[in-house]
Symmetry: C2
Subunit: 342 residues, 2 copies
């Protein structure tokens, strides 16, 4: 249950300012919640009670059934693959090869993926693919690792794999159950959209999303099996951060440099979720206009505020969370900064 009693205020403003020259050129509004695993809201900005599509930021929880079902053990799923199961990856060769190998090991091919195709989101990888004379496959889809995890679980449980993206399929039903457990919500009437990769994306208030990630961070009140699964995913993400995103990505920089003290995942349309295992805290962020640059800067400001960024982590993530804007001639033209009231 969410408990507002310790929240300093639910209406503090939180903006991200994009400056150029002497002036703010653009600005973003942010809503965010920080929660502990008991449901206590430690801090919030903006509206954290209205439902928000968490998109790919919720992937670490969507990967839990892969571990909890026994599928990961049955198929010798590696830590790299577990990190990949939580990924919105760049479509770089390491990601595509890992997906292909994993699918082969469970007796499937790339054609089993129902996520659709797109060119790698990392431009150099897209150009390299074009140079090699190839077209993108579903393995290049940024969600192909998550979908491989879905397929692995379905194969292990002897479920039909076709249609695993649909809401009524057992794969998606297990995820709904996980989300209900972690958010304390009955999601049967929650708003549902279709995500970029065609699975359902369920809208959840930021306060409940923060609670969910707080429980992921501190699973001590959960069953031993679930707690073990949470820790296993956290370890995999921290150990193989290149698998959860890739080159030039905040998720990779942060999950790597934080060495387990932060487990964070971006989602489309300006969402970021983070778990802080040491303090058992969860953070949920939505840039209201859906821009990733705002969510990244907001995450940096909140982590800074929580006092968990040492020099090593700062060096790794500052290019994303305190970006200096340079133009085509590499001239510094501006910066992006958080304007946070706490």
């Amino acid at each position: 249950m969410i408990n507002h009693s310790s929240s300093k205020s639910a209406s503090l403003p939180f903006t991200v300012a994009v400056s150029r020259g002497s002036m703010v050129e653009s600005h973003h509004l942010v809503a965010a919640a920080i929660c502990d695993s008991t449901g206590r809201i430690l801090q919030s900005w903006g509206n954290v009670e209205s439902p928000v599509y968490l998109r790919s930021a919720i992937k670490p929880l969507q990967a839990l059934p892969l571990v909890e079902s026994g599928a990961a053990d049955a198929f010798d799923v590696t830590e790299k693959e577990l990190s990949l199961a939580c990924a919105s990856h760049n479509g770089e060769p390491i990601h595509v090869e890992a997906v292909t190998n994993w699918l082969n090991r469970i007796g499937l091919g790339i054609e089993a993926l129902e996520c659709g195709c797109h060119w790698p989101t990392y431009d150099p990888a897209a150009r390299a693919l074009a140079v090699s004379g190839q077209e993108p496959s579903a393995a290049h889809n940024n969600c192909s690792g998550k979908h491989s995890g879905f397929l692995c679980t379905a194969v292990h449980l002897k479920e039909t794999t076709t249609g695993y993206i649909h809401r009524e399929h057992a794969v998606q039903q297990r995820i709904v159950k996980v989300l209900e457990d972690f958010t304390d919500l009955d999601l049967s009437n929650a708003p549902v959209g279709i995500d970029g990769c065609s699975i359902p994306t369920i809208a959840i208030p930021l306060q409940n999303a923060a609670l969910a990630f707080a429980r992921f961070a501190d699973p001590s009140t959960l069953t031993v099996a679930r707690a073990t699964a949470c820790k296993r995913l956290q370890k995999a993400i921290s150990k193989y951060p290149e698998m959860i995103a890739g080159s030039d990505r905040l998720c990779t920089a942060l999950n790597g440099a934080a060495e387990g003290r932060v487990v964070a995942k971006v989602g489309a349309e300006g969402v970021y979720l983070a778990a802080l295992p040491e303090s058992g805290i969860g953070v949920a962020i939505k840039a209201l206009d859906g821009t990733t640059r705002a969510a990244e800067v907001a995450l940096g400001a909140i982590l800074e505020d929580l006092g968990i960024l040492d020099e090593h982590v700062h060096r790794a993530i500052d290019p994303y969370v305190r970006p200096i804007l340079r133009n085509r001639n590499d001239i510094v033209v501006g910066e992006i900064t958080a304007v946070i009231d706490s």
Copy 2:
């Protein structure tokens, strides 16, 4: 002089909503002004009095000295090249070849461009360039047409071309003078930033930007020489809309389909400026968060509101101004719509 007397209200809200499933997922705040060439504000939304970097949206006015100086005639600058001088182009072969030819004709090479290099912004063009084994040059920079116009003017006027991007260079000083003439502002103390292509970008309130584009639309009160230059640029943009942007771009779709009834130009960080020559109206839009998708949808809504979109134009621009969102499997997942109060 700006005249507020006819403005219905300066504080009407204008938002753009991004929906997915049954819910609004993200939303954008927009400020916009509609002005006639006498400075009468016909309508405005949000704050139109604070300075805004107009970025590349102001390019049609930045191209005026190219015509007014006599450089365009002296160097037989074509209508295609005039449209290109106003462009933020995709870096497609038609753009790069045109820039290269133009520079050669004025006795310069690509190395004279001071805009910096970047991969073509149009992904298929970037991949094709990579496949051809080439790296991008300054000619692929989306601003290379504008810079070619700058160089053409400088060569014609026998000015040093080196450093033409700097504020103190005569090329930039002429632009400041044009902007002051068109906006009725003394810009000597206006906020200035450095644009992506390294020239100064001067902040101008939306109401004055709308006035500037109204005068560009209806130059009847300007000198004959300037009015002729405005009409010549309008005609070039309408006749060769593929040069001002390129494949899959609203600027190209709109300037082409409108056949001279709208001359519009996008700018970075959510800016759009449009001139309506038939009614002598100028429109200036800024998505406050800097997102192009919001500026495009806002422009569509304003043009619709002004009653100038026939079925032909709608068909051309609706994919940009009333976008239906499809995912990686081409499933409809949402839409972007304007919520406009008028």
